[in-house]
Amino acid sequence: MRLKIPLVIFIYWFETLLFAAEAGMPQLDSKYWFSQSFWLILIFLLLYLSLSKFFIPKIKDNLDDREKKIKDNLDEAKKLSELAEKKNLDYKNEISNAKREVIKIISESKKLLDKNMSQKKEQFEKELEKEINKAEKEILDLKKGSSISINLIAEEISAKIIEDITGDKLNTSSIKASVAEVSKNKIGKYL
């Protein structure tokens, strides 16, 4: 009798628990607990093995590959840009060198030209001087020659004029002397 009351209470509690599991929370129904645990452990183990042995290394490889490739590309780009900079510098140097050369060539040729020109000028001037001298000499010669022939002509003319006026032939030597005297005084005026 004493035992009966707790027993009834226990049975009632157990039944309510069972009922709770049936109508309330299926989670508390222990019927499939072992099955769930077993399948969980099995499936999780298989998943863990396949992931750790196969998929995770593959993803890691992919990521590492990408990182390496990006790093390589960056390095190469850096190298190329350095090269381009160097080339650019070389090009600039070359251009400035060429400019300097051009300036040098221009100044040299200018100098040469100047030299040539002055040489030619000098030569030309010399020749000109020579010509002038020659011409002056010729003129002088001509002057000298002309004064003689003028005297001759003047003698002839004066002899003729005197002859026409007086009808007499005058001594040629006296005419000559007087012409020479006149021309000596006056010829400087005209020549």
Binding site: Y32, S35, Q36, I43, L47
Partner: protein, 244 residues
Amino acid sequence: MAANPMHQFQVYKIGPEIKLGNVDLSFTNSSLFMLISAFTICLFLYFGSKQKSIIPSRLQLVAELSYNFIGKMISDTAGSKAKPYFPFIFTLFMFVLLCNMIGMLPYSFTVTSHIIVTLVMALFIFIAVTIIGFIKHGFKYLSLFVPKGVPVVLLPLITIIEIISYLSRPVSLSVRLFANMMAGHTMLKVFGSFVISLGLLGGWLPLSFSVALTGLEILVAFLQAYVFAILTCIYLNDALNLHH
């Protein structure tokens, strides 16, 4: 019976009964959805790592993002020593996440809404972490229960509290996930049945709630998987780096 919000958590066996001695190990809908989750993870990771393109495809991007996400989480919480446990944490996170997410599909079954499933996982983590702690630090690992800088008078009390909190880790870890999943799905079901019972006239309000709740539940599904994984990392950190 279908209107009962708890009916969705019913476990029933599929196919023949498998018995090992006295223990029932039949294949159930729970096992089926575990398999589906595991298979989905494998499929996702297979297609996510198939091509080795420099500019990743969408699936590849998601796979690599989740890899980096877990990797960063582990290194942030447990340091570099926890690197060997990366595959386990990754598997754990993906499995819990996929179980939660697949449970969001109508007429499906949520594996993680069963206390036994989460408890087995939590107990495994708890026991494994304890073993790792003892292997790494020997009996010094017990100093985990004696925090530094505590007054001597309070030390016995604090130590008892620490031991209780340590022992309650598997319970809190498993109950958190299970309760969240169960509560969310029950609530969705309740609001869904409101829509049906109120009909065309009054059903719109619970329907909008239902839609909003679905979004919230997807967030919770992700968040609980994340919390489960990060708590595992924190426990692992305690075992690997004693008294940091």
